[in-house]
């Protein structure tokens, strides 16, 4: 296709030069479908609010604020948040310490909150449902008590310090975990903070939020919004009078089959801070664990690809994510750890912490990458093959390529 109506100052050039070819390439580019009706409906609502200078509700403020967030921040936040979901699902198996992380709740001015929590998680060992209560206190502190099979487990976490303590009442076992605390804006924080960050970091997807209408919980009338995010789908129900969250539900299929409900949320109640001290009670036996791997999500992905290839006869997964993707190998890798170490032993738990940290960051990172610029060529490629690209993606404003020898280059 030529360019109409533009005189060519280099008309003595007999054939298109690279510049002209580039112009033509842009003109002939295959344009993806425009934003769908749902996206446009949200946009129109923002336009109408702007037109009349309406005071925006909290949900619309979230939407507008989210637009400005950078993709790199999103990746870090999502990776960090997902990491602790994996800790819970792999280490404690009962699903009770899912409490350590994932999901959310939130408004910017919430300093403290109490809530009840219901978690359903599908692990290789089956589906587990746990219920408990929680306390969040900013910055970055949290306590969750759950009961599974009449055993009470308490997890106290300080995300700022990068420490958590899990106490199992029946066995009198205390597990101390250290993990990379990260920068303030990359730290998942407690459930309230984590939720807020994940919403804010989801630039595009947040715009896909849809109204769920109104619903009554007890005697509380609430308005609902659903957000399609990289790590899953989140529903927020907020008091229709003051906009404060009363119930949050999250499905996170990317890292594990997780359904979590935070309900009966009370905002800014007085909190007894002694409940949040990382102090081991007398009579408990301590097991110290720590995630010592990289906190960089891209490096986590490279590491996981290496682990999988080594476990899989030097072959990379057939696809990045999906039924044959990196996520499909986690249960096999856990099984390998259980075969190598006595389940529940310090060595086993430490190995699982390393795997969980790496896998969670890697999967969350991979899930967060823009699909439209993602190319995976790892199928049938062997680990170590020279100059053979296996993955191309966009991250932090750069086009990156991972090769089969695990080197990574900018393009």
């Amino acid at each position: 296709m030529s360019i109409p109506n533009i005189p060519n100052p280099d008309s003595d050039v007999p054939r298109p030069d690279p510049f002209e070819q580039a112009v033509n390439a842009m003109n002939e580019a295959r344009i993806p479908s425009p934003p769908d009706a749902e996206f446009n409906a949200k946009l129109v609502r923002l336009m109408q609010a702007d037109e009349h200078q309406i005071t925006l509700g909290w949900s619309q403020k979230l939407l507008k604020g989210a637009i400005k967030m950078k993709f790199s921040t999103k990746c870090m936040v999502v990776a960090a948040a997902a990491l602790f979901v994996m800790f819970g699902s792999l280490i404690f198996r009962g699903g009770n310490s899912i409490a350590l992380a994932d999901v959310l709740a939130a408004l910017e001015n919430i300093r403290s909150a109490t809530w009840t929590i219901t978690t359903e998680i599908e692990t290789p060992q089956g589906k587990t449902i746990s219920r408990g209560t929680g306390i969040s206190l900013s910055p970055g502190r949290e306590r969750i008590e759950t009961m599974v099979n009449n055993v009470t487990t308490t997890t106290i976490t300080d995300y700022v310090a990068g420490k958590s303590l899990t106490l199992e009442a029946q066995s009198k076992k205390a597990i101390s975990i250290t993990f990379p605390a990260g920068k303030p804006d990359q730290n998942p924080g407690n459930k309230i903070e984590g939720f807020r960050q994940m919403i804010a970091a989801e630039s595009r997807s947040t715009l896909n939020a849809r109204d769920l209408g109104t619903k009554t919980f007890g005697d509380q009338k609430a308005i609902g919004f659903e957000f399609a995010m990289s790590v899953g789908v989140i529903q927020i129900w907020a008091d229709s009078q003051n906009g404060l969250p009363v119930r949050i539900e999250m499905d996170a299929p990317a890292t594990s089959k997780l359904h979590e409900i935070l309900s009966d949320i009370k905002v800014n109640p007085p909190i007894d801070e002694s409940l949040l001290e990382l102090k081991i009670p007398e009579g408990y036996t301590e097991q110290k664990l720590g995630f010592t791997g990289t906190a960089d999500p891209e490096s986590m992905l490279i590491k996981l690809l290496e682990i999988i290839a080594k476990h899989n006869g030097s072959r990379f997964p057939d696809e990045l994510l999906g039924e044959s993707g990196i996520n499909s190998y986690i249960s096999k890798l856990v099984k390998a750890i259980d075969e190598a170490h006595e389940p529940g032993s310090e060595a086993s738990n430490q190995a699982k912490i390393q795997l969980a940290g790496t896998a969670a960051g890697a999967i969350a990172f991979a899930s967060s990458l823009p699909k439209e610029s993602l190319d995976y060529w790892g199928e049938n490629v062997l680990l170590g093959a020279k100059e053979t690209p296996i993955l191309r993606f966009q991250h932090a404003g750069k086009s990156r390529v991972i090769y089969a020898d695990l080197t990574v280059k900018d393009e």
Partner: protein, 176 residues
Amino acid sequence: MIDWEDIVARHGPAVWRTVWRLLSNDADALDCYQQVFLDVVELSRRETILDWSAILRRIAINRAIDQLRARYRETSRFDSQTDASGVAGVTQDPSTRLVQAETAEKLRAAIAALPPRQAEAFCLTAFDQWTYREVAQRLKIEPSAVGMLINRARKSLRESFAAVAPPSHGSRSNES
């Protein structure tokens, strides 16, 4: 009262094509697309808009160029932000797609470096198929001045384009 739903429905696809062609990245294009419509709301408070199509496409061009400038300020080099699948002559060969993507990306970088009016005039004619007369009306200049503006833009673009060394693809030569 302005029917924004109708405005978005009627002009959204054209705005999308304009911003995506320049940005070649879904996330950036979505942000830009949204900003175009929020900008036109702001503009509608200050003046009566008679030709929505023209004003939206012009805002789209300018917003997309702004975003390109921000992109290259941030990276300070020709790091690709593009979606290679949208490049002309798409093949299944990733190497070819990358070469095409990088060629177009070089042009984007060069456009981002142009003076604002040259960039706008060039993009409106080269990618949005505006005539010189239309550009002259919108930029409030003589049609002959449009020709000069575009010729200068093309000269600068060609020089910038030629100044960038072709990318090396040696490391990808054995991909399979």
